[in-house]
């Protein structure tokens, strides 16, 4: 009867957890899963102004979604005087803020979340001839002197006797990339870059643009921000070349050939200014960006999870209550413990304690698996050998433990010092090990030697190391940590499975060997 009730309770609990998890999975799957960003940033444009006569006007371009970037949680500035509006400007979207108030000052904030991927393009050997619609991407302008004799001269030089379009493009790219980059913020035209020893990103990009347009390749400037966790005023400019139906990015400043990194925020096309304002205004601005911890799991980032389900541990990490690493360790402890319990009760391995293998596996992460295992064995044997005389003079258990601990501390400190002095990296890695875990392991090992002899003790040590290896394998699955973070209810499942495991009355696998003479083995 009691047994029956327990089963019912367990089934209900399991069903509840499953239903909860499935409903979460369903709601998670409804949000956009096709966009798996590699980076996640909060970006805030801050504008500070003071109007004089005739009010004021600020215009800036608004980034849009495309194949490699996703903009969400957009907050346009709202003020009592005016609303920012959006209008289409060529292909770009322009934000505009107006005020009629004179002699007023204030601050505007425009913020959004950016999620981006890096993208590598392949460049074919031969480019198709541009269609008529692309003529506008071949024209000259004041700052991009496509038909200037000097541009033509350089373009001819770089393309001389080369039949591959790709090779020509590479030559031009390398020519511009080799020009040293200087932090000049003024508008620089293409030709003047040829005279200078260095140029800014906009100058180099215009030179590249002029050269490829000269060679008949449709191209355009591209403007945006390079995101990093900082505040800055610098925006960035690079070039896109239209090759066989596709705009392909080239950044001659940061040397990205047909590649755009994940932290590049694309904002506008064309030779524009990211930010303009009416002239009779005192004005300043800054771009504040903050990288968010973004964990990719089945195409979701933390932010997405938070929107859908409040029951996840993502908040803990995002609000910095606990570091991602510590949370991971915490969550993996029950899972690792369950695994060790399985190894002990079903497989029949003998290990030093239940959680010790999990903890040892954790400490191996600091040193790496192979080196860690060797160091672990080295320390255990060394401490065992050094503490041996203290074992044989007949001491009580607890003071003996203190002696082992002290020996361990001394060995670690001396090892680290020697490792530093002799520049042996593995020796200086000794202190990475949690000392208590090591001491307990060493103590258990030397006790076992006394009780059961060296052979048996080494056997149990070996089995412990097998359990450690399995735990390490589980712990190194990074996506498992993310899974636990999003579905912390899995811990409840661990409890349920532990109850099942706790009722397991079958043979341990090692017992199959032990009782082999009494059992019948049939091959199916």
């Amino acid at each position: 009867m009691k047994q029956h009730r327990l089963q019912i309770a367990l089934t209900i609990a399991a069903l509840l957890v499953c239903t909860f998890t499935i409903s979460k999975i369903i709601s998670l799957s409804k949000i956009q899963v096709d966009f798996a960003g590699e980076t996640l940033y909060n970006v805030t444009h801050k504008y500070y102004y003071k109007t004089q006569e005739n009010g004021g006007r600020i215009k800036w371009f608004l980034p849009q979604n495309n194949g490699r970037q996703h903009i969400s949680q957009v907050a346009l500035p709202k003020t009592t005087q005016a609303l920012a509006s959006r209008e289409l400007h060529n292909e770009n979207v322009l934000g505009e803020w107006l005020t009629s108030e004179n002699h007023s000052y204030g601050e505007l904030e425009y913020s959004y979340t950016f999620s981006g991927k890096s993208q590598q393009f392949s460049v074919p050997t031969h480019f198709e001839n541009p269609t008529k619609e692309l003529a506008q991407f071949l024209t000259a302008s004041e700052y991009v002197q496509v038909n200037d004799p000097r541009i033509t001269e350089v373009a001819q030089e770089l393309s001389k006797a080369i039949s591959s379009d790709r090779k020509v493009l590479e030559n031009v790219y390398n020519f511009v990339t080799r020009i040293p980059t200087a932090p000049i913020h003024t508008r620089t035209d293409a030709v003047s870059v040829l005279d200078r020893k260095s140029a800014s990103c906009n100058g180099k990009s215009r030179l590249f643009l002029a050269l490829v347009r000269n060679l008949g390749m449709p191209s355009r400037l591209k403007g945006g921000l390079i995101l990093e966790s900082t505040s800055k005023r610098t925006s960035h400019v690079w070039v896109e070349v239209f090759i066989n139906g596709q705009w392909i990015p080239f950044d001659t400043t940061n040397n990205h050939f047909a590649f755009l990194p994940a932290n590049y925020l694309e904002i506008y096309q064309g030779d524009e200014s990211l930010l303009t304002r009416s002239s009779k205004m005192e004005f300043d601005y800054v771009y504040e960006m903050e990288e968010l911890s973004s964990v990719n799991f089945m195409g979701m980032t933390f932010q997405n999870v938070e929107q859908v389900s409040s029951f996840s541990l993502v908040h803990l990490v995002q609000n910095k209550l606990i570091s991602e690493k510590n949370l991971f360790l915490l969550l993996m402890l029950p899972l690792g413990g369950f695994f060790v319990a399985f190894l002990r009760n079903v497989v029949g391995l003998k290990t030093f304690g239940v959680f010790l293998p999990v903890l040892i596996a954790f400490s191996l992460f600091e040193t790496g698996f192979g080196l860690g295992l060797l160091l672990f064995l080295f320390l255990i044997f060394l401490v065992g050998a050094v503490s041996r005389p203290f074992q044989s003079i007949g001491l009580l258990h607890t003071p003996k433990l203190v002696i082992s601990l002290s020996v361990m501390v001394v060995i670690m400190l001396v090892g680290s010092y020697l490792g530093w002095a002799a520049k042996i990296p593995w020796l200086s890695a000794l202190t990475f090990f949690p000392i208590i875990i090591l001491t307990i392991s060493a103590e258990k090992f030397s006790n076992l030697i006394v009780e059961d002899g060296f052979g048996k003790a080494s056997g149990i040590l070996f089995q412990t190391l097998i359990a450690v290896s399995f735990c390490y394998l589980i712990l190194s699955m990074k996506s498992l940590g993310t899974l636990l973070m999003i579905f912390p209810e899995i811990i409840v499942m661990v409890i349920l499975f532990s109850i099942l495991l706790g009722r397991y009355v079958g043979f341990r696998w090692t017992e199959l060997i032990r009782f082999k003479p009494l059992l019948n083995f049939k091959t199916a």
């Binding site: 029949g348 043979f507 003479p517 083995f521 199916a524």
Partner: protein, 290 residues
């Protein structure tokens, strides 16, 4: 699930540790009563109260202050065994026997009073029990029945009888060998000899790997050999099982040359090797008895 997967049949009803723990130890033995088995002093008090034969207790030393007077009292005997009440695996057990000149010797070496005091002190201060304190037991030294010498003449062989709810369900005889340093334990190179409980005879020898009809140090076959005082041993086991508040027990019994069967100790978690020794699973043995 695993056994189904690989088609492992268990015709003899062998029990693994998981099943033993869940269905026997946890079910029949409450942890609050473990102390009756774990503490040899308590075990003996309970046995003596109920008039069950056990090695005569000469002294129990719980505080080091009493050592001198108690040992003076024990010195009158020709042979004594000094044991920690909570020892494990035979650690700390010393057998002292008087030589012709009247001084105690253990393993050939003379043990004067000072040496005995030191040993008793280490027992009482918990050196052998992984504890902060322990009691020291000094009792009559068992002289094995001549029956055992017919098979192998060294150390103290003992019987292990498993009882469930007061009924003996399986038994074996554990004997030392020339490789086991006087110890009868299977783990320490002793051998187990199966017992036909109904007939009171020995069946086969199991050395942990192989079955045979002979003790490794004696070529005479033992199968069919009649055990002396078998009825008494069974009766003693039943009586013992009845007075302990534990329903699943492993009872260790020796046969003293003059006193007959004596209870040495009782265990709440008797090992599973007895199944191999008897070529019979505990589950089947239980089914046969109930």
């Amino acid at each position: 699930m695993f056994s189904k997967l690989f088609k492992i049949e268990n015709p003899k009803g062998v029990m693994g540790i998981n099943r033993r723990n869940l269905e026997l130890v946890y079910k029949y033995n409450h942890p609050k009563h473990y102390r009756w088995a774990d503490d040899k002093v308590l075990t003996k008090e309970l046995l003596e109260e109920n008039g069950i034969a056990t090695a005569k207790t000469y002294a129990v030393i719980k505080k080091t202050g009493n050592t001198r007077s108690k040992w003076e009292h024990c010195k009158a005997y020709d042979a004594v065994a000094i044991k920690p009440a909570n020892g494990c695996g035979g650690d700390g057990i010393k057998i002292l026997k008087k030589d012709n000149e009247g001084s105690f010797r253990s393993g050939g070496k003379i043990w004067d009073d000072a040496k005995v005091y030191k040993h008793i002190t280490s027992i009482v201060s918990g050196f052998f029990s992984m504890n902060s304190s322990d009691s020291c037991l000094i009792e009559k030294c068992i002289i094995p029945h001549p029956f055992f010498a017919e098979i192998y003449d060294a150390g103290v062989p003992d019987f292990r009888v498993i009882t469930l709810k007061g009924t003996p369900i399986m038994a074996m005889l554990r004997m030392p060998t020339s490789k086991s340093d006087g110890k009868a334990n299977l783990h320490q190179n002793g051998v187990g000899i199966g017992i036909d409980m109904n007939k009171g005879i020995l069946t086969q020898v199991y050395d942990g790997k192989r079955y045979s009809m002979t003790h490794p140090d004696n070529p005479t076959p033992i199968n069919g050999k009649k055990i002396p005082c078998w009825k008494e041993i069974l009766a003693l086991s039943k009586k013992t099982a009845k007075v302990f508040p534990l329903d699943y027990l492993g009872i260790d019994i020796v046969i003293d040359a003059t006193e007959g069967p004596q209870i040495m100790e009782v265990n709440v978690r008797p090992g599973l090797g007895i199944q191999l020794v008897n070529r019979c699973g505990l589950q089947q043995a239980i089914e046969d008895q109930f």
